[in-house]
């Protein structure tokens, strides 16, 4: 659990143990999820940080894509993990990934449309100048 809470720390912590598989008790190899989860967590954090801090709305969009892809990585990782554990039919994660990519593309299209409409009205794409939700 520690690696969930401190992803970066956990990542460096684990680099020593190489490979997708980890030996437990030196007899049976198990698929090792933690590296993928760490990558996904890092991507998610980067995405969130981007959404919260960047002023350019297009960059915020890109950050959102990062968040989505963090989720994708998790899906893929768990799917492969389950397959390696013997459940060859565990493809739901991969299917979901495809869905997410499609939804992300659609969302990007709509989002960019909104951005263009916004730009035409406000002549800006800096979010700190867009405060229409204010009271």
């Amino acid at each position: 659990m520690l690696n969930l809470l401190f992803p970066a720390l956990a990542f460096f912590w684990q680099t020593g143990t190489g490979g997708r598989m980890s030996d437990v008790g030196n007899s049976v190899t198990h698929p090792d999820l933690s590296k993928f989860l760490v990558i996904g967590a890092l991507l998610f954090i980067i995405g969130v940080a981007g959404v919260l801090t960047r002023r350019n709305i297009i960059v915020i969009f890109m950050s959102i894509e990062l968040i989505l892809n963090a989720a994708n990585i998790n899906f893929i990782a768990f799917s492969r993990y389950l397959q390696d554990m013997g459940n060859v039919n565990a493809v739901a994660g991969q299917v979901f990934t495809v869905f997410i990519i499609v939804v992300a593309a659609a969302e990007a299209a709509i989002g960019l449309g909104i951005v263009i409409a916004l730009y035409r009205n406000k002549e800006t794409i800096w979010v700190d100048e867009i405060d229409l939700l204010k009271w």
């Binding site: 659990m1 520690l2 809470l5 969130v48 959404v51 919260l52 801090t53 979010v127 700190d128 867009i130 405060d131 229409l132 939700l133 204010k134 009271w135």
Partner: protein
């Protein structure tokens, strides 16, 4: 056929419903309305005739059939449980019985305890009285809605539907052109239904429903011309007077239910037979029941002192007077007394009361009738007088004769009322006889039929009135039920003389003598109405007064009839107001009016043959069951034998419990003759249930003449002589020497004034009762308007004031606090909280993320603590 009798009341109701509910909405023509009404009654009459025939004469005449009840058929069309058992539980003194049982048990306990303690018997022992639960006997008042066909109800069915049919036909002509045509026939049909329920019901509660129903219809029809004040007043007077009677009737019905545990006639009378007789001096349960019933009969049948409503009821249309206030409704009291004759005959006191009231009413009303000038008023007082005769018959124990007089009276009085209606119609709504005269020439049909009614009511030999009236007088003289029968006979004979006199006067003033209808109004009641209408500027027969009917508002001297009309040919459609108003030339009425007159005239002539006096037929009631006296035997209780039926027949099984096994008729007739002969042999041997009743005129005559038949013939001759005297005096006064009435009116001025003013009875009631009731009503009104309204208004004021105060408190104090606090918080928090609303999406997203982190942290709080602890473990402290 008699299984269809449930249709008899239903058909007029159906007709009334159709006319009343649809007549106005669908604008039925008069023909259609009249057709529906007359058709329904005609069908009911047909069914009645067939039913009575098949009941009394069909299927072997040997035995008297039991009373037929529709409930014996079962099923809905025939009868249903009207008040099912359990709606009312009869206690039958269960509480008292439980108490008695408890005391008895306590006594036993005391004895046992005394025995256990070896105490001498009778020594005091303290024991508790055990509480015994009330025994549920399951005696539930179970009232069914079923019709009963027995000799008594059969007669009334025939009279009500038969005479009613004639009057319905007449009314279609009489009410022609009235805007309320449909309403009139709806009321009339409803009345028929109620009257038939009254006479056909099989229990006291159905009788009560019919009783009240006919009262209601009477009220509606008297007040039919509700735009005239006197009609409204008269209808209310009739209703209120009847309430007084109904009060007694209702009490008696309660008493009957409480005593016998049932309202069914058969059950009640079967039990009532067993009660002991109550001679004069004993006023027990039966007397009280009879008293209540008789008060009811007094109200409905217009006996002293409750007769005052009937003369006023003449404000209604004339067919109503004929149907309700002469032929049917007012005889309901007779029906009820005859129906409950078991109860009445148990009480000698009440029989005496009935007879005395009847005789007094007969003479009282007859003497008033002599001086009245309104043709309908004369007939109304005549009706009251004839009803008195009927009650006299009941009071002396001759219930069958009373019913016989009901029937003949229905014939001739309906005939005379309809004749009067025809005259009024022909005279263009003139009712004052002083403005008539000589109508014989103009209204031949009306005249000749009226003559039949006149001779019938006077009691001339073979006309119907003679048979019944003579029998009443004979029975009054020969009664052994009550004392002083001869006094009643004397009174009734004088009343019969008066009857003959005033009826002759009526005929003479109306049909004979000088034609007075062209004269100018010379004063009097009718002329007051004329003058009044003139002052109001109203025209007769216009839209406003078209319904003013029997007392229209003519301008004095206005032409109200066609001048150049062929008098005898004026039988066609006579639309009021459609023609120019000519002189007061009377005209004959259309066939729809004189045909019923003719039918009733025939009945008035031959109707009496259903009850020919035994004197004419060798000492027995001839005709077997077709004779009304024999016909009614099964419903008449005989106090001597304690059975239903006459003394000799009753023992042979005419009693209620053995009505199915009646005696062969031939035998009963034979024994009837035998009985007559026996009583001829020795009048003293005749069974008298109440013992010796003192001087008996008939028996004295028998002794003097030596034979029963001779005594009967003597009384017949006497009654014919008095009728002749009455008619002769009438002819002398009003035909031979028309000056005599005025001379004698002056000579007997106090008597004349008393009679003319109806003995000031109305004034007396006004002074003695109405005035006080009004004063009391005003007092109650004052209490209501000042006291109760004041209390209500005061409370309202108090409430309003209190609400003003609390409202102010709420508005200024409570709202002030709330608003103050809210404003304070607003001012305090405003600068801080508004900062949160930056309007930047990223800020909101940040808050979301922070919230997410917090949520996750909370979710994993235990792991977090572990992690912190393990990390702290690395830190060297």
């Amino acid at each position: 056929m008699y299984k269809l009798i449930w249709l008899v009341p239903l058909l007029p109701l159906l007709g009334a419903a159709i006319n009343g509910l649809l007549g106005r909405r669908l604008r039925f023509s008069e023909k259609l309305i009249g057709g529906i009404a007359v058709g329904s009654v005609a069908l009911a009459f047909l069914i009645s005739v067939l039913a009575v025939y098949s009941y009394g004469f069909g299927g072997g005449q040997q035995r008297w059939p039991k009373p037929y009840l529709t409930s014996e058929e079962g099923g809905l069309p025939y009868s249903w449980k009207w008040i099912p058992g359990g709606a009312v539980e009869l206690t039958e003194g269960n509480a008292e019985r439980a108490h008695i049982e408890g005391m008895r048990q306590a006594g036993e306990n005391a004895e046992r305890q005394a025995a256990e303690q070896h105490l001498p018997p009778g020594s005091p022992v303290l024991v508790a009285v055990p509480s015994v639960p009330e025994r549920r006997t399951g005696a539930l008042l179970d009232v069914e809605w079923s019709y009963q066909l027995d000799p008594l109800s059969a007669i009334f069915m025939l009279v009500v539907t038969g005479v009613g049919l004639c009057i319905f036909v007449f009314a279609t002509g009489y009410m022609h052109g009235d805007p309320g045509f449909y309403r009139f026939f709806a009321y009339l049909g409803l009345f028929m239904f109620m009257m038939l329920v009254l006479v056909m019901g099989s229990n006291f509660l159905m009788m009560f429903v019919g009783w009240e129903g006919v009262g209601l219809c009477s009220y509606l029809l008297i007040g039919y011309y509700f735009d005239r004040k006197e009609a409204g007043d008269a209808s209310r007077k009739a209703f209120i007077t009847n309430r007084i009677g109904d009060f007694g009737f209702a009490l008696a019905v309660f008493g009957i239910i409480a005593t016998f545990g049932s309202a069914q006639y058969t059950t009640v009378f079967d039990q009532a037979r067993a009660f002991p007789l109550e001679p004069i001096g004993v006023f027990g349960l039966m007397s009280w029941l009879a008293l209540g019933l008789f008060i009811g009969a007094c109200g409905k049948s217009a006996q002293i002192p409750l007769y005052v409503w009937l003369p006023d009821a003449m404000a209604g249309p004339t067919p109503v007077s004929a149907l309700i206030h002469a032929a049917t409704m007012v005889t309901a009291g007779l029906y009820m007394v005859t129906r409950t004759n078991v109860i009445f005959q148990h009480s000698q006191t009440m029989m005496l009361v009935v007879a005395v009231v009847g005789a007094l009413t007969a003479i009282f009303a007859a003497t008033i009738g002599i001086t009245q000038n309104d043709i309908k008023k004369v007939l109304a007082y005549s009706t009251v007088s004839q009803l008195g005769f009927m009650f006299l018959a009941c009071g002396v124990g001759a219930f069958a004769i009373g019913i016989f007089h009901v029937v003949t009276h229905a014939f001739f009085k309906a005939l005379m009322f309809l004749g009067a209606g025809s005259v009024i119609h022909g005279m263009h709504h003139e009712q004052d006889m002083r403005r008539m005269g000589g109508l014989k020439k103009y209204m031949p049909y009306t005249y000749w039929t009226f003559l039949a009614g006149w001779l019938a009511i006077c009691g001339i030999i073979p006309f119907s009135g003679f048979w019944s009236k003579d029998e009443i007088l004979w029975n009054a003289a020969s009664t052994t039920i009550i004392p002083y029968g001869w006094v009643l006979w004397l009174v009734a004979t004088i009343a019969a003389t008066c009857t003959a006199f005033y009826m002759t006067r009526l005929v003479a003033m109306t049909f004979w003598g000088k034609e007075r209808f062209r004269e100018k109004p010379a004063g009097g009641e009718a002329d007051e109405a004329h003058a009044h209408a003139f002052a109001e500027g109203l025209k007769p027969h216009d839209a406003v007064t078209a319904s003013a009917g029997d007392r229209p508002r003519h301008e004095p001297g206005e032409h109200v009839g066609p001048i150049n009309e062929d008098v005898s040919g004026h039988v066609a459609d006579h639309g009021h107001g459609a023609h120019a108003h000519g002189a007061h030339t009377p005209h004959e009425s259309p066939p729809s009016m004189w045909v019923p007159l003719a039918v009733l005239a025939v009945l008035a002539i031959v109707g009496g043959f259903i009850g020919i006096s035994p004197a004419f037929t060798g000492g027995s009631h001839m005709g077997g069951r077709a004779n009304i006296v024999n016909w009614l035997q099964p419903v008449i209780w005989n106090p001597t034998t304690g059975q239903f039926g006459s003394p000799h027949e009753g023992t042979e099984g005419h009693g209620a419990e053995a009505q199915g096994a009646g005696a062969p008729l031939a035998a009963s007739e034979a024994s009837s003759v035998e009985h007559r002969q026996q009583s001829e042999a020795g009048g003293a041997e005749t069974a008298t249930p109440f013992g010796n009743t003192g001087f008996n005129l008939a028996q004295a005559a028998e002794k003097a003449l030596g034979s029963h038949a001779a005594a009967e013939w003597l009384f017949i001759i006497i009654s014919l002589i008095v009728a002749g005297i009455g008619i002769g005096l009438g002819l002398l006064f009003y035909v031979k020497n028309p000056r005599l009435p005025d001379v004698w009116a002056k000579r007997l001025a106090p008597v004349y004034r008393a009679s003319y003013n109806k003995y000031w009875v109305d004034e007396f009631f006004g002074w003695a009762i109405t005035r006080r009731v009004m004063a009391a009503a005003r007092g109650v009104y004052a209490v209501d308007s000042e006291g109760i309204d004041g209390a209500v208004n005061g409370t309202a004021w108090l409430t309003r004031t209190a609400s003003l105060i609390t409202g102010g408190f709420d508005k200024y104090v409570v709202d002030g606090i709330v608003n103050g606090v809210a404003g304070f918080v607003k001012r305090l928090m405003n600068p801080i909280l508004r900062r949160a609303q930056t309007g930047f999406t990223q800020n909101y997203a940040l808050v979301m993320i922070l919230g997410l982190v917090l949520a996750v942290a909370f979710f994993f709080s235990r792991d977090l603590i572990t992690a912190v602890k393990s990390m702290l473990a690395f830190i060297p402290l």
